[in-house]
């Protein structure tokens, strides 16, 4: 087992995971740590009149209770897009779970006990904005005070944070034979990583701070902390141990700055580990109401697509405005559509601030767009596969103006999907089939540095700032080094997760790491090869040009070859040492582009499934599921399959059973694992097939593209189409529960 690209060597970090010795943030012992517990209210919206900490402070073991008075004034605010989120609620809570105060104690038990005793004098306020309708209603209270909206923001007196408009062609004169006009709803769901967020801050001796966080973007966190704490970057060290799942919910800073203030104040480590329920109050996916109006010719050719998308983003923006813009930009999907108009609004609400979640808004758009295409197919008497093939953009086609052209053989993905589900084969009674296509763009800008050190004995260290949260980043970087430098897999150590030890990486998101960091690692290897060529040539008195260093082998002018690891030991000579290679990938983007830059690549992914419906109860069984992605090159096929199948299961989650439920006061009723359902082992479709199309047509080394999000882009519309095919029931609101199917069938009687 060579561990090179295209193989599936064992996961780097695998042994620690199966031994149970891998330390996640909550597993790390900090000798004299103080434990923090957040104080929150039982409603979304309340005016804070007073905070009485006296009873809490008298609990044995409590050291202090932090309130806004203990933080700088004006209250520091942060956020990746807008600096709107305060460390603690100021004057009014804006969502269920917004921290009002923080108890600091010697033990977690004491902190929890005392948190219940902090008496917050508050007045619950009516009129909380929890729905798209309420956010658009001009008489609703403002979620954000105009004073914290951007300067000169024309919408500051509304709950519309932003409006994104994308248009091409000529909507006014576009004529269709057949129009489908429907509205779809995608509910609030949450990332539900099995590891809840954890944050530890440790003050150092010089006024700086070291922070441990389950964060996906350690360098972004470093920047935010340096700004809020007014410390130079060099005095802020972020440790980011491999997170126990992220899915976007751990990308952006949450309570690290608050914990850092507490640690610096007390001169001791401060530790905050959220409960699973608290994660529901911390992160979620943007929910959406999308009206899609699609025009077709009678042969199924799409003439126009019009979308009015309302994304309910929560009380603070986090990255959700970007989610809204980026996903809606591709609302029309991977199709050739001559006339498009998209109006997408990011709406503030008194709810958990939404953030990035796998798919970044694309699942919401697929839900609407693909369903309209399926309805058109039904009404025009067309095959749902055919109608998509008719419209799917071909490789190189400019399917969105001024944008990266279609970068894959997308019809091949769709055809493979159809083959794998036996599309067209007869189905027994009560069974139905559906398929759908999802599209998402990769990053539009980015910067990743990597350093590779080739050591004297031919072993290697890789330094990369990517976060390995289960997608297997460490492993593929090791495979690249194995491929390029010929170092065997067992002699490669990958160092990540420490801003002091690894060079800058912008973030881990947008399925970017195989391309951006992969390219940086690849380039670092090329740097090593050219340096090695110089050294070898020098040793042999030869011209560096005449020495070839390629794919793990050094070839001398006389034709003798030596594997790189062997050559290096000899070449370094008496002084020993190592060869250090640096690589980067930098994508500057384009400030004139609506998204700040063209897509580096697309993730195009198809889903198909068969379902069986019990028409008396509405119960639905997904009997077969197929997921196929356009990956360019699967660096590690087993890891790709694991990610794609995992994404499919997550997609089935929001399709069949996940939904955050709020009461009239905006309180989340189903926080935790009991009444918020994700799929279990027993809910997996009996047949699950995943496959990849590999045409080496991506921008990364070996033609790779990004993976890991595609697998849940098209799940919902594929299942909905199968449900309709099986039973006639048409569902436009997620999740597709038995009760919803039953209702839909009842209304057809």
């Amino acid at each position: 087992m060579s561990g090179m690209i295209g193989d599936s060597p064992p996961r780097v970090g695998g042994p620690e995971r199966v031994r149970g010795t891998l330390e996640y943030v909550a597993d790390i012992r900090f000798g004299d740590a103080l434990h923090v517990k957040l104080v929150t209210l039982d409603v979304a919206r309340a005016r804070i009149d007073s905070i009485d900490t006296s009873r809490a402070e008298s609990v044995d073991g409590v050291v202090s209770v932090f309130t806004p008075e203990d933080l700088p004034s004006p209250m520091p605010r942060f956020g990746p897009q807008f600096h709107d989120r305060p460390l603690l609620a100021t004057g009014e809570t804006k969502y269920h779970g917004e921290p009002v105060a923080a108890v600091v104690a010697e033990t977690p038990e004491a902190a929890a006990r005392a948190a219940a005793l902090v008496s917050v004098g508050h007045l619950p306020l009516d009129g909380g904005v929890f729905t798209v309708e309420a956010a658009l209603d001009p008489s609703s209270p403002l979620v954000q005070d105009p004073s914290i909206r951007g300067p000169g923001d024309p919408r500051a007196e509304s709950n519309v944070l932003s409006e994104h408009r994308f248009e091409w062609g000529d909507m006014e004169s576009a004529r269709a034979d057949h129009v489908v006009d429907q509205t779809y709803n995608f509910p609030m769901v949450t990332q539900f990583a099995i590891e809840p967020h954890a944050f530890v801050a440790v003050p150092d001796d010089g006024g700086g701070v070291e922070v441990w966080s389950s964060v996906q973007h350690p360098f972004l966190l470093q920047k935010v902390l340096s700004q809020i704490l007014d410390l130079p970057l060099s005095r802020v060290r972020v440790h980011a141990p491999d997170p126990g799942g992220g899915f976007g919910g751990k990308q952006n800073p949450k309570h690290e700055a608050l914990v850092a203030f507490i640690a610096l104040h007390h001169g001791r480590p401060a530790r905050l580990v959220l409960s699973l329920g608290e994660t529901f109050q911390t992160v979620r996916r943007t929910s959406a109401r999308i009206r899609a109006r699609s025009g077709f010719l009678s042969d199924g050719t799409i003439v126009f697509q019009e979308f009015v998308s309302d994304f309910l983003i929560g009380a603070y923006v986090d990255i959700a405005d970007r989610v809204t813009g980026k996903s809606n930009y591709l609302a029309a999907g991977p199709y050739r559509v001559p006339n498009v108009r998209i109006v997408a609004r990011a709406l503030l609400s008194h709810t958990t601030p939404s953030t990035a979640m796998r798919g970044f808004g694309a699942p919401q758009l697929s839900w609407a767009r693909e369903a309209n295409i399926d309805q058109a197919a039904r009404e025009l008497g067309l095959d749902p596969l055919q109608i998509r093939l008719t419209n799917l953009a071909r490789h190189g086609e400019q399917f969105v103006p001024n944008e990266t052209p279609a970068d894959g053989q997308w019809e091949e993905v769709l055809r493979r999907t159809a083959d794998l589900i036996d599309w067209g084969a007869p189905l027994p009674e009560g069974r139905g089939r559906g398929l759908a296509v999802g599209l998402k763009s990769g990053p539009t800008t980015g910067l990743s540095y990597a350093t590779v050190r080739l050591l004297a004995d031919g072993s290697s260290l890789i330094f990369a700032g990517t976060s390995d949260m289960g997608q297997g980043a460490r492993t593929i970087f090791a495979q690249i080094v194995a491929e390029e430098l010929g170092v065997t897999h067992d002699r490669i150590t990958v160092v990540m997760g420490d801003t002091t030890r690894v060079p800058y990486d912008q973030q881990t998101s947008a399925s970017r790491s195989s391309v951006l960091m992969g390219t940086a690692v690849y380039n670092a290897c090329q740097d090593i090869r050219s340096r090695l060529a110089v050294l070898v040539a020098g040793k042999h008195g030869a011209d560096p040009e005449s020495v070839t260093v390629e794919k793990g082998t050094v070839t001398l002018p006389d034709g003798t070859t030596t594997p790189i690891p062997e050559a290096i030991g000899v070449t370094l000579g008496r002084l020993g040492g190592e060869i250090i290679g640096n690589g980067e990938m930098r994508v500057e983007g384009d400030p004139d582009h609506p998204l700040g830059g063209r897509a580096v690549f697309f993730e195009l992914h198809c889903a198909a499934c068969e379902v069986e419906i019990d028409t008396e109860t509405g119960e639905i069984e997904v009997t077969r599921y197929v997921t196929v992605g356009d990956v360019g090159k699967a660096l590690n096929p087993l890891q790709v399959a694991g990610q794609d199948e995992g994404a499919a299961i997550m997609g089935l989650g929001h399709t069949l059973m996940e939904r955050m439920i709020l009461d009239g006061s905006g309180r989340i009723l189903n926080m935790g694992a009991v009444d918020y359902r994700i799929l279990t082992h027993m809910d997996v479709p009996e047949v699950m097939i995943s496959d990849s199309i590999e045409n080496a047509d991506g921008p990364g080394p070996y033609g790779i593209k990004g993976v890991s999000e595609g697998g849940l882009l098209a799940t919902s519309p594929a299942v909905a189409a199968a449900v309709t095919s099986a039973s006639g029931a048409v569902i436009r609101d997620l999740p597709i529960t038995p009760e919803r199917i039953w209702r839909a069938l009842q209304s057809r009687l």
Partner: protein
């Protein structure tokens, strides 16, 4: 305080514990066995799964005081005395069953308990035995394949 005598991973412990301390926190905080994880703390996710007297249980719902006289096994005990991984752990690696890894100690212990009493489980039996172990990364398939492989049984496509 209650005194308990308990065997954990073959080692005997005599401890005084408070009534309100749970087994999960006892293992993690007092014995530094952090393999069992904190997630839902209500018996719904299985991240805290350990084996007591041969049975898989959620350690978050068991008071330390209840374990007097018990034999407890955690994920840390699966590796052989020579430090090498056991068959189940090796299978998990070979089938790429661990992604982020956070749920894996729990999955391993549930699987371990299953295989100790059922040497030839069917796929359905594996799924049922592990149904109490939530995973958010995986499609679950690779975990099931790993357990079947560890039992020496063919998984998907008939390969062992």
């Amino acid at each position: 305080m209650t005194h308990i005598d308990v065997q954990v991973n073959g080692e005997d412990w005599g401890l005084d514990v408070e009534a309100g301390t749970y087994l999960l926190e006892l293992l993690r905080d007092r014995m530094q066995l952090t393999g069992a994880k904190v997630c839902c703390l209500e018996g719904e996710c299985g991240a805290c799964t350990v084996v007591i007297d041969g049975k898989s249980v959620n350690s978050c719902l068991i008071l330390a005081a209840e374990t007097d006289g018990a034999k407890i096994t955690t994920v840390e005990a699966l590796s052989r005395s020579d430090g090498n991984l056991d068959g189940l752990q090796t299978a998990f690696l070979e089938k790429a069953a661990a992604q982020c890894g956070f749920c894996i100690p729990g999955q391993l212990m549930a699987a371990h308990a299953l295989l100790e009493t059922n040497h030839e489980p069917t796929k359905a039996e594996v799924r049922e035995a592990l149904a109490g172990n939530l995973c958010r990364c995986a499609g679950y398939e690779q975990i099931v394949e790993a357990v079947l492989a560890a039992a020496g049984l063919p998984g998907k496509g008939g390969e062992s």
